[in-house]
């Protein structure tokens, strides 16, 4: 084998792509040719440098937040059927409990029918928080507050970026305002136990947007029927309705819902 041929085959040799016999011929040539041996060593060193430089380049490193966010989203998509099956059973159990109670018992146990706003909130959680597939790009809470609803501004810092609860840490991933089916939400995306939770606030259709009189000191959480496989709970403030939507089970979401609802409710009541 001549030097010229060895140089033509050098890349394939280094990538271990040659047939065994050809490989042996190259090796036999290199054994006796210092020039080709040096050239091959230099190419090998360059290959190793490219690999090392690319793999270690700090500027190409993925952030931990992005990794966590991505895994949460993928997990939420991988498990929707499981949630639907679980809540299918839960709904019948809850209904049975209500029917067994005496008449006049307040129906807090029976999951409420989903309103249009609740369905939009679930859709927004799916298309914005999980899939990032909204038709329109989200805007900042500040811009939305200027354009649409001044109350959105109040959610720029509420709830706080990290919230320690007895069940674990809840961390804010993103805050913005987005639109789903023509309904504008203030949207806070949180992470809890590896899953995404959306806090979505919209104007309450039919209510005046002002501070109400005689508002309760604590929010009243209303658990809805699962929508699209998601657990949904809502509460009202004067002029607004707020939803928490997640792939978490109801018991899991129930562990953090009060800790998210309470500061938001109180902030909005203060104005």
């Amino acid at each position: 084998m001549q030097c010229r041929e060895v140089r033509e085959l050098a890349d394939s040799f280094l990538s271990e792509q040659l047939l065994v016999e050809t490989n042996h011929e190259v090796l036999r040539h290199l054994d006796g040719c210092l020039v080709c041996r040096s050239e091959m060593a230099a190419r090998q060193a360059l290959r190793a440098t490219i690999q090392r430089a690319f793999t270690n380049a700090e500027s190409l490193r993925m952030s931990d937040e992005f990794r966590d966010d991505t895994v949460s989203r993928l997990r939420a998509i991988a498990f929707p059927k499981t949630r639907r099956q679980f809540f299918g059973v839960w709904r019948y159990v809850a209904a049975a409990v209500v029917l067994a109670s005496a008449a006049g018992t307040e129906v807090f146990l029976l999951p409420g029918r989903a309103s249009a706003a609740a369905r939009d909130a679930a859709g927004d959680h799916r298309d914005c928080a999980i899939l990032s597939r909204l038709g329109q790009k989200p805007i900042s809470l500040e811009d939305a507050a200027t354009r649409d609803d001044a109350s959105f501004r109040l959610l720029q810092n509420t709830p706080s970026d990290e919230l320690t609860t007895p069940a674990g840490l809840v961390r804010v991933v993103r805050r913005h305002s987005c639109e789903f089916h023509g309904r504008r939400f203030a949207h806070i995306i949180l992470q809890f136990q590896g899953q995404l939770v959306s806090l979505l606030m919209a104007g309450d259709d039919g209510q005046r947007i002002d501070s109400g009189n005689g508002a309760d000191p604590l929010p009243h959480l209303a658990w809805l029927s699962p929508i699209d496989g998601f657990t949904v709970v809502s509460f009202k403030t004067p002029g607004h309705i707020v939803f928490l939507v997640s792939s978490l089970d109801k018991p899991e979401l129930g562990q953090v819902a009060p800790f998210l609802a309470d500061p938001v409710y109180r902030r909005l009541a203060r104005g």
């Binding site: 890349d11 990538s15 993925m62 991988a78 499981t82």
Partner: protein, 185 residues
């Protein structure tokens, strides 16, 4: 896929996906960021790629090269996006024949830093960068590269050969620049 006994089907799929695909997340991101140039665009691209990978995970054969499979999805997603934005750059004419003669090849310079090597890599055409990265960093075979890029294996080999020539020229220029700066001091 080998089922895990006692696990719900969704959890079995996730367990295999987590084991096979997620270890490649970092490398996939680096590849995406290298070509997109912007972190937000790379994040979008990687997430879309992984969503499609999850949706089509039934078509992946465990034991085959998962990295190659993910890269072919990523390229597919990226080219669809570029087409939609009408930003597809014209493909440069690539000589598909290996050179009949071997021109004079200057020796590879020594002592260049990682940053200088990456900077030189950035200066060669993107289709050559891609082949070099898939070969040297991802260590895909020619056949896997051909499948990932949807090009013939002969084109892989010729682009790799040409890409290395171009990279070598850039490295020599860089090295000459370093030597000149050293002499001026």
């Amino acid at each position: 896929m080998t089922p895990d006994s006692g696990l719900h089907p969704d959890k079995r799929v996730w367990a295999v996906f987590e084991a096979e695909v997620l270890p490649h997340l970092d490398r996939l991101f680096r590849f995406a960021l290298w070509f997109e140039g912007r972190r937000d665009a790379a994040e979008d691209l990687v997430q879309e790629t992984l969503l499609q990978a999850l949706e089509s995970f039934g078509r992946f054969k465990p034991g085959t090269n998962c990295s190659a499979w993910l890269i072919s999805i990523l390229r597919h997603v990226r080219s669809n996006r570029l087409r939609a934005l009408s930003r597809a750059s014209p493909v440069n004419d690539v000589d598909d024949r290996i050179a009949d003669t071997v021109p004079f090849v200057p020796p590879l310079p020594l002592g260049l830093t990682d940053e200088e090597v990456l900077a030189a890599l950035r200066r060669i055409p993107q289709e050559h960068q891609e082949i070099i990265l898939l070969c040297d960093v991802e260590e895909l075979t020619y056949k896997e590269i051909a499948a990932a890029l949807a090009i013939p294996m002969g084109t892989v080999m010729s682009r790799l050969h040409r890409g290395r020539e171009l990279l070598r020229s850039e490295l020599v220029k860089c090295s000459n620049g370093v030597r000149r700066r050293g002499a001026e001091r």
